[in-house]
């Protein structure tokens, strides 16, 4: 966990305080079930809830016991007995450490998923707001980094919205996968504990009972969880990359928000670096990389080996904390993104209208000009514009004017027909449809 890439709510999930609280709840709920089964006295279960529920667990004390016993769950149970008194002997009856540890991890990952889903909701909201704000802000669409056809900045954001909506659905599925509880004993046979305990604890903790476990919850669930986080991170990278491109000096159609007083820019006003989105690109690499050890964790030996544990100590916190931070940072970037519609228009126009060349070509062929001739006509005018653009970076020759001056073109197409091929509305006429598909409304 890197403090500068961490937010308190997600960090808290992985704190010892929260972990021990979850452990306590699992144990206390299990006591309820055991009491209901008549295995332990009902009074004991009540006492455990009362004393344990009111207590603050002393992390240092637990650590001290663990240094001695070299066993984390025993250390906790020892400390719990210091708090609860004699009734503590009824705690953990017939359970194994993994019952507590794995169910706790499920709770933590489920809560982490909840935070991530909330992060996505905030991001979706920001994207929707900005998408509608720029629904009709025309900008050039680019394939291969080269001007293609016009689109709108709102469509770009709608695309991101649809992508993160998918990410949300994936996270909901991943949360569902991991919201599972196992209290099944040393090799999963319930030899020393009735399956009813598992069912009771699962329900109480907001989980489902794992249909069949070994000593541990099967790690394919965790692999799927972390793989999903990797995919979400990749979508973060995509939008971050888009913004980094838009902020390039030569493009500058949008910029990460830059507070007026932010240092360093005074003498070099052009030096506003897209450092937040660059940072997001790096964070995405990390979250993605965690998917692999999670997948390697699946093939544990027989009923379990403990190789997964060290991996999860890293990636449990690191993947969730980093992605939480990244989503929040991206939301901030989107929310406050400086968008420059005029520059978008100017960039598009720097090619002197060449983006319309395809439509002219089509118009000529539709007007009966042969494909070869149409090409020749478009090409000879386009080339003049292009040559004027090439060196200067801004065309001094205008495509429309050249076409209007070309007698062969004019012979095939009246001025009106030529002019209307330069209409941007042609490219944006279905934006409403797209918005309806994505947001359920056009405006």
């Amino acid at each position: 966990m890197i403090p500068r890439y961490a937010r308190p709510d997600m960090v808290a999930i992985w704190s010892p305080e929260v972990k021990f609280r979850i452990w306590f709840e699992i144990e206390a709920h299990a006591c309820d079930a055991l009491a209901e089964l008549g295995v332990i006295p009902k009074e004991a279960a009540k006492t455990i809830w009362e004393k344990g529920g009111a207590a603050t667990f002393d992390i240092d004390r637990i650590d001290a016991i663990e240094r001695e016993t070299k066993h984390d769950v025993i250390a906790f149970l020892t400390h719990l007995s210091e708090i609860v008194g004699p009734d503590a002997r009824f705690v953990h009856q017939g359970m194994t450490s993994s019952d507590v540890l794995d169910t706790c991890l499920s709770v933590q990952l489920t809560r982490a998923a909840d935070l991530l889903i909330a992060d996505l909701d905030a991001l979706l909201q920001a994207l929707e707001r900005r998408a509608f704000e720029h629904r009709d802000t025309v900008t050039i669409g680019r394939s291969h980094g080269i001007h293609a056809e016009p689109t709108t900045f709102g469509v770009k954001l709608a695309l991101a919205h649809a992508e993160f909506q998918r990410c949300r659905e994936r996270l909901v599925a991943a949360r569902e996968e991991i919201a599972t509880c196992a209290i099944s004993g040393a090799v999963g046979t319930f030899a020393n504990i009735d399956p009813f305990v598992e069912e009771h604890v699962a329900k109480a903790m907001g989980l489902k009972a794992e249909p069949v476990s070994t000593q541990v919850i099967p790690r394919d669930r965790h692999a799927m969880f972390f793989a999903t986080l990797g995919v979400v991170a990749s979508s973060v990278e995509r939008l971050a990359t888009e913004i980094r491109h838009l902020q390039r000096t030569e493009v500058l159609e949008a910029e990460e928000y830059f507070s007026p007083g932010q240092k360093g820019s005074s003498a070099m006003p052009h030096k506003r670096n897209p450092v937040l989105t660059e940072n997001l690109t790096g964070l995405a690499r990390m979250v993605r990389s965690y998917a692999l050890p999670a997948m390697e964790n699946v093939a544990l030996w027989h009923e379990r080996d403990i190789s997964h544990s060290s991996v999860e100590r890293y990636i449990g916190p690191d993947a969730t904390i980093t992605l939480d931070f990244a989503l929040a940072r991206l939301t901030g970037v989107v929310d406050k993104l400086l968008v420059y519609p005029e520059r978008m228009e100017n960039n598009m126009n720097r090619l002197g209208g060449l983006v319309h060349s395809q439509r002219i070509l089509l118009a000529l062929t539709q007007a009966g000009v042969s494909r070869e001739d149409a090409y020749r006509l478009v090409q000879r005018n386009a080339m003049k514009v292009w040559e004027s653009y090439h060196v200067a970076g801004s065309a001094t020759v205008d495509f429309l004017e050249e076409l209007l001056k070309d007698p062969e073109v004019r012979a095939a197409l009246p001025e009106e027909e030529i002019r209307k091929r330069f209409d941007l509305g042609y490219h944006t006429k279905h934006v409403g449809t797209i918005f309806r598909r994505v947001f359920g409304r056009e405006g």
Copy 2:
């Protein structure tokens, strides 16, 4: 694609013949929609279906055209026009190459998913059959490779069944993700084609219309698809690893099927190698590795760059063909797995009953013996057994007998009470419950 790890049905999906057939269908369905919109003549659409539907596309001819035009879709369309005649000019109106390529890839991946789901169904069936066959075959459960408590071989297979059932659900979700169609033009704005065409083709091809695309279908869908395959492969590795362990000379509780005539074993009958499951382990590494470039593919530049394309030429076929082969191979292994219940029993017993030491400990404390004394009593008898086991690999001292001979133990527990702690039924009493959870029935 490695021929020895490939099965014909999945290979066929990636053949040029099938690809061009899908391309044709996309184009022809689009013509239907365009005809319905009145953009092209209905007769033309009909002709295209008739002539193209009857034709066999000449791969060599298309390749020859591509070598000239350096464009695969143009090459195909040129060949199609040779088949269809003048009406071919109505094909591909307002579409871009990616409309065809990406929708085709969706169809291919969807079909691949269907095969993989069918593979899983076969695997699940084999697992279910063998699980019930060995529902009550007691075997030792192992944590950390060390004997823990008894379980049954059927429970092991039930676990695998539950895991692959989850894999099936994941694949169904991944299929749903990728079953999407985009016919939206150069930058996704439908500038030159009505969204109705997309909707029509989507429906006709068994896909859904992509709510918003750029020039391409967003690659987060594909990333999720290949990540899912990586998780499924990891589950393959888990079961393969289990079997490899069981076949070790010292364990030998199960073996991959070995046909009587299979060469090389005659002189060394012990040298039956678990080469199929070792092979599956390697194949799993490959399928898993493809998840990463798929995730890196997500962050395309602006409305698309073509960096994803080469990646998909590799992993599209390689991931699906390899996983298909792996699942089928695993099904065969499970189906014909030689299981040795006697050896399972003998292995368990080689420790002279030590696996029951925990229960005796508990029985002693429940009988009023102090925890310390109970430990001492169990330990001194367990140690004798263990020492006899340690060197020889098979205990010559029996734990039960030692306990029965120990006066202090006997003072605390009558013989009957000791003996019943060695009852294996204690460990298998909930197997029915587990089976009901996994298979919906106990027997």
Copy 3:
């Protein structure tokens, strides 16, 4: 192996013909050593060389035998005996299949490394030529995609040269790692074969004897080999990404070569897509991904399991063939890259001289102006320029002119002092030093 991303020389290394030829050479050299040891008759060794050396191995025949025996090395040896006759019984004495297979893989990877090193030499040559050609072609250096300070295009290429020089050294080291021979028997003890045979074959095949092997050559060597290829591929991606950026419509300082007749550009002259470098970006993702299964291959069980084998059937050919193709493609791109110095100059100047603002700030403080005042002076002039740039994408206000018009600036700095801060030579004065460091010569 994807044919379109494959070149014949590298493909040949992985052909069955070459593989069987290497197998034959290993076996025949081993026979020489065995003959020298007196284990087999010298005449037999001679016959084997003569008949086997002259023969063309019949792949179909070997395949047919393998289908029967299910063992590739036995199939080959059977076929060899058909060619060699009775003396064939002296072939493979005391050897195991892995002795042949693993040593063959070493030969193949060593040869692949040789091709890759030759690829790098060609790339380095192209980079050196173009670097000197553009040693003094001034262009803007960019950090975060934002204009920073001037550099030269030659320096960019010198950087790539230094990077690929390092890649070359890494590949030489990786080749050295993998150039190893093991003929040590079933578990590496030389039980049935004298270590002299290994030493003899190693020397004859241009390898070194593996100091200690199991049944196989340790896979850490292969892991290092493929990891190195992954790093080289990442450097390919870096240069490819640079070129993709330079070719963006708004930047257009360089372009992949575009043959005059190349289709598709006629009507849209601006639509020249950097498809080669985009393709290289994708290929790099693939080569990189192969490093992971190679690393997972290291931890084989005991003296060997065969899980590595399937992985290597994929990544052996795929990684080397793809990287070979990528390096050659990159060499072609560099060799024929269209470079536009005028556009570089114009892009740099589009900011109206703002890239010099830092130097003016420094000059003012050196002239005794307080840091705060210097900032204020620079800022108020810089801002005018910037604002004129911001919308249009090309400054209409000139920073130098504004400074010269500013009385406060002029009070601190004479015109001459201001003007000389706009000297580009200041930024390029150490280019010669850099070139000397990289190429050993300045011009």
Copy 4:
């Protein structure tokens, strides 16, 4: 960084104290060079060394300044000026932040490499000691987990020694790669600082001057560094896996050291889990996974973007600290490994001598028996042994005895000839050679 998987010396390298000390040294050495060039007063450089060298940097103060300035290097320089006084204005002249940050990272990674190399030296020493201790401890070699031929436990350790010796060489090369210094300014042109400063600082810090940098040191160096760590980690996993296998209940040829008082084992003496080596397996997965983001970091945009930085904040400490811990843990495991030669012998013998079947087969054919007959003879005797083994897990029929009783075998081979094929010395006769190759000495 996970405290439980971290050792203080490696952690210290990544502490703010050490980082700021390195920053100071880079800056102060640069001042020396600047003073030598006459750019700043020699007295100033002296003062900076004296005051800065004596000072303890106040981390909290620096953090407080950074919160304000949002720039780590400026925060440090501000704090340094508080310590040094007016002469601090001569610090950092003409330098950029990356000059300090990247050179510092090189120093940190170089020091980390030194610790890792020392770790490997300790591991190699432990392996050498145990290898000679068990040079002649015969044990069964296993391929595919199945008994193959005898080897010695010393040979297994010699193999590990050779592997980690290679790892050491790789780390030395990786250290060499990363021991590089860049002080070259905003885009690497030395515009504001003479290359002499870089050369001076490089030498003073024990580094080499980077031949050509951009704003940053090229990241292919770091990629190679972390990829190398991933390979080393994979070798850790290999040896850890070997030990985990040997400790399985059924095998139990070696065990991680278990202190007599270690809790939990008293009642279940067989439950000694190989938790250290399982843990190492998980740690290896993590270190390996860091190679990928390191490779993705290579393709920075133009002269730099800052996406690599966040990645390195994770993997810089995590990869080095984890691998350092893993190597030390592995050394401890090897050093104190409990080895059970008797059990090794017993395991080998459990197959009743079947491991010698190949030699008998060979002896029969050499004695003139046809291949088919030899097979038949060996097989019929081997099968009796095998069947007696199969169920019980320990043969009750002895292969040697059966052979001696078989008249057909005896007709072909005298007793003496049969017996000598059961000589283990046959398998260990070249162990000395192997040891000489690996350790340079046989005993």
